[in-house]
């Protein structure tokens, strides 16, 4: 027994395991967008939260390789597709929590309660206020029409947000029509597709193109530094099924060492205080309906959201990627 304790001390020294209660989070959400929130949790509870950030794919491989010896208690992503994939790989465990059930609406969480959306991200249409009137805009599908020839800007199809958007479109319109729409987008491009939403929004503002599709919080962030950018937000598909939304969410890992603590953290994250932070720090929509978005976000109006269960996006993601490949959407 003494031997075992000595060994543990050595291993602890090697791996830096500390004695006090800890929760370890693997997150694909950029550190600067989650650490401040987790910091508040640490202060309130005295529980230490370790954060490992990285891309979804490598983090999931890491979880798989570690198996039952993973230090991770929570896996967090910025989109439903990867939550779906993690669930597929059996990396989560179901969580029974009344608080989570109350805080997170059904369409923003896994039907099996393996993961929960924590914030909602809407992907909608933006336009140059000097050259486009909002009346000219209507839906994602409309952006494929020839009237936008040479006027559309898009972010790369390699970003999961676009894969989710196209994935839900496949769900709504079927693959044939979706392929026609995406082909139309590609034909309308004014410039090579952009590596990120911010650059694309700036391009709209500078007049390189007239319209584009982006997540709203990039717009919110951009306005903080460039309030006079002549870019307007338009809620897409309001006369149809609503604007495309995705979730940033998390689940408790299957082999969590501190599953209790993990659930506690998830509950805390879905409650008012943390949700308010999500809303303010990153200008996302809170998942919890009791919390109002940041006033700036509210000022954009209250859009109708596409209420298909967001996990739909994950199951259609590969299909969406192949579709975009086929029409040459890079």
């Amino acid at each position: 027994m003494n031997k075992k304790i000595a060994l543990m001390a050595v291993l602890a020294a090697l791996s830096g395991v500390a004695a006090a209660e800890e929760i370890t989070v693997y997150t694909a959400r950029a550190e600067q967008l989650i650490k401040p929130i987790l910091g508040v949790f640490e202060q309130e509870t005295g529980i230490k939260v370790n954060v490992v950030s990285g891309s979804e794919g490598p983090l999931m491989e890491r979880l798989k390789a570690e198996g039952s010896n993973t230090p991770a208690d929570i896996f967090m992503t910025v989109d439903a597709g990867n939550l779906w994939q993690a669930n597929n790989l059996g990396l989560f465990q179901p969580v029974k929590s009344a608080a989570l059930a109350a805080n997170v609406p059904v369409h923003l969480r896994d039907p099996g309660n393996n993961w929960f959306g924590l914030s909602v991200r809407a992907r909608t249409i933006f336009y140059n206020k000097l050259t486009v009137k909002p009346e000219q805009l209507s839906s994602y599908e409309d952006l494929a029409s020839p009237k936008w020839k040479g006027k559309l800007c898009l972010r790369t199809s390699k970003k999961v947000y676009n894969q989710s958007l196209v994935g839900t479109m496949i769900g709504s319109y079927g693959p044939v029509k979706t392929e026609r729409i995406v082909k139309g987008w590609v034909d309308n491009l004014a410039a090579p597709v952009f590596a990120d939403d911010t650059k694309m929004l700036e391009a709209i503002g500078a007049g390189q193109c007239d319209v584009g599709i982006a997540n709203t919080y990039y717009y919110g962030r951009l306005l903080k530094t460039q309030p006079n950018l002549p870019v307007g937000l338009f809620w897409a598909n309001q006369k149809l099924d609503g604007v495309h939304v995705n979730v940033s969410g998390a689940g408790v890992t299957k082999h969590a060492k501190n599953a209790k603590g993990a659930v506690k953290l998830l509950e805390w994250l879905s409650a008012e205080k943390a949700q308010k932070l999500f809303a303010d720090i990153d200008m996302e929509f809170p998942a919890n309906p009791k919390v109002a978005p940041n006033p700036v976000v509210t000022s954009w109006g209250k859009p109708k959201q596409d209420l298909i269960n967001v996990s739909e996006a994950g199951s259609k993601q590969a299909q969406a990627v192949m579709l975009m490949d086929r029409v040459g959407y890079k």
């Binding site: 600067q32 954060v51 794919g57 039952s68 230090p71 391009a203």
Partner: protein, 559 residues
């Protein structure tokens, strides 16, 4: 030399390789060395094996899709990138090296080291800075736009040409450094020999200096090719799809790690073929340099020629270093107060510490490997060295998985063996050790090429002289090679240091809790398109790499 006396007038030198009879005892004695070389190659072989062992049955739906819609274009893109970047770095690197090594022109001394500075700039940082400067919304076009009816004439930076330009500017220092060194020791002499045989200086450059500097130039070029193949960050900024993109797409977007591994295996095979081709094309030629290396006076470029040389060097330095740094500085200044904090110093400190540790470790292993190759010279050791240095061409994230999986497996075995399940989650994973192992797998090529180049410059007679004096085996290593190699070793340390500073995916995957570095910070910011916030850590990476880069350049400046 001693042999000469006893030789009859028609001296015959023994055929190459037969200088020492390969007796049985000698053959047996060399096995420990071979095993050591093989053990070193395991650093790379194990991760590679993990990457290359995927389920044997390819996913037909995904493969069919890739073959039909993705691979043809991706392979073409990859080829264009490799050829274009090779041409670019050769043009920039070799011509500047030649100018600086052989001629005297205004500012030569400054450019000699300053042209190395872009080495400190990570390619992905150069990419986002350059795109920031030259794109539609960038300061240049914004400044010009009011004066023109339209800006369609302005070349699109986010294009193949833009990518080739940026990658060439980012990677040319590898070729420049090694070529400058080679030219400085033999360039001027090569010209003189050529002239004495009736060749003009221009012919002398093409027919003598260039072929003679080939192993050094090729060494640099190989690093460039491998780094380009493995690159993901830079091509992502340009949204240019390469073979590596396909690997990531199969993995991240199509959720098929097996397909990604199969693609990665193809990449490894391609690199191996490339390496073998290079090796084969050298044939029996030897490049160890004979004779004196006393510096010869430089040829002075007078009048407009001198200023043209100065202008060319300035332009490269401006585009590859000064302008991007100014752009980064501008971005950083917009959000400096928020970014510069105690945390920030922590990132910087960890980056430096990590780079230093990795640099020393990689260099030591590279030294042992280079020594074994020289001492043994057999096929087994050579192959081991080749394989050990292939990690540089594997996309960092893929290699990171290749390293992490066996380490995690080992941890699980140890934990199970000791019956500590549930109490301990990690032994080696998430430790500095695992991280350093991953860096060895990735950067051994960089260290090896520097040490090996220095090793090549030690003539056979050094060996023979030492053996003659009764110094052999490992004693030869530390009494003769180490002092002679100190320059090459220092080069290796500096180059690996700078490379680890810039490295991103392996650091992300294998770092211990809380071990966030500057490049992790850059990753977190750029992944959210927060260029302003990425600028400060990016600048810090450049600054931290600056001193080693300058040292590198100085210490390599033979003339």
């Amino acid at each position: 030399m001693q042999l000469e006396k006893s030789l009859p007038s028609a001296e015959r030198s023994p055929p190459p390789g037969a200088a020492m009879p390969a007796g049985i005892s000698r053959r047996l004695a060399s096995w420990p060395g071979r095993l050591l070389a093989l053990a070193i190659s395991l650093f790379t072989v194990v991760p590679l094996a993990v990457v290359m062992t995927s389920s044997l049955s390819p996913d037909p739906a995904i493969w069919q899709h890739l073959l039909e819609f993705a691979l043809p274009e991706l392979l073409r893109n990859t080829l264009v990138m490799l050829l274009g970047v090779s041409a670019g770095v050769l043009l920039i690197g070799v011509s500047l090296a030649w100018l600086v090594a052989v001629y005297q022109f205004p500012g030569r001394r400054f450019f000699s080291w300053a042209l190395m500075l872009p080495l400190a700039m990570p390619a992905y940082v150069l990419a986002f800075a350059q795109v920031g400067i030259f794109e539609f919304t960038g300061p240049l076009q914004s400044l010009l736009r009011p004066h023109f009816d339209n800006m369609r004439w302005f070349p699109e930076i986010r294009s193949t040409w833009g990518l080739l330009l940026v990658m060439s500017l980012a990677f040319y220092p590898y070729v420049y450094l090694l070529a400058r060194n080679a030219f400085a020791t033999m360039g001027r002499r090569a010209l003189e020999v050529g002239q004495s045989l009736g060749l003009s200086p221009r012919q002398g450059f093409w027919r003598i200096a260039l072929p003679m500097a080939r192993p050094w130039i090729m060494g640099g070029l190989l690093l460039v090719v491998m780094e380009s193949l493995a690159d993901f960050g830079t091509v992502a900024v340009f949204n240019y799809d390469t073979f590596t993109t396909a690997i990531y797409k199969a993995w991240f977007a199509l959720f098929s790690l097996d397909t990604a591994k199969q693609l990665a295996s193809l990449l490894v095979v391609m690199v191996l073929v490339l390496l073998l081709l290079e090796q084969y094309s050298r044939g029996r030629r030897a490049y160890s340099q004979a004779g004196r290396t006393a510096p010869l006076p430089r040829l002075t470029l007078t009048g407009w020629r001198g200023w043209a040389a100065c202008a060319a060097a300035s332009l490269v330095l401006l585009l590859a270093f000064v302008l991007p740094l100014l752009q980064l500085g501008y971005w950083a200044s917009r959000d400096f107060a928020n970014q510069f904090s105690a945390d920030f110093l922590g990132y910087a400190w960890r980056s430096v510490l990590l780079s230093l540790l990795a640099a020393v470790l990689v260099t030591l292993i590279a030294l042992v490997l280079a020594y074994l190759v020289r001492r043994d010279g057999g096929a087994v050791v050579k192959l081991a060295a080749r394989v050990a240095t292939i990690g540089y061409a594997i996309p960092g994230t893929v290699l990171a998985v290749g390293v992490f999986v066996p380490v995690a497996w080992l941890d699980n075995q140890i934990i199970a063996l000791l019956g500590l399940g549930g109490e301990v989650t990690a032994v080696f994973k998430g430790t500095l050790l695992a991280m350093l192992l991953a860096f060895v797998a990735r950067f051994l090529a960089v260290g090896h090429s520097a040490v090996d180049a220095a090793m090549n410059r030690i003539t056979r007679s050094h060996d023979e002289a030492a053996r003659n004096l009764g110094v052999a085996g490992w004693a030869l290593l530390y009494r003769v090679y180490l002092p002679l190699l100190s320059g090459g070793l220092f080069t290796a340390v500096l180059m690996v240091f700078v490379d680890v500073m810039k490295e991103m995916p392996i650091t992300l995957m294998t770092r211990p809790f809380g071990w966030d570095t500057l490049s992790v910070r850059v990753y977190n910011m750029t992944s959210e398109g927060m260029w302003d916030q990425a600028a400060l850590p990016a600048i810090a990476i450049v600054l931290a790499g600056l001193l080693p880069t300058i040292l590198l350049s100085r210490q390599q400046d033979v003339a």
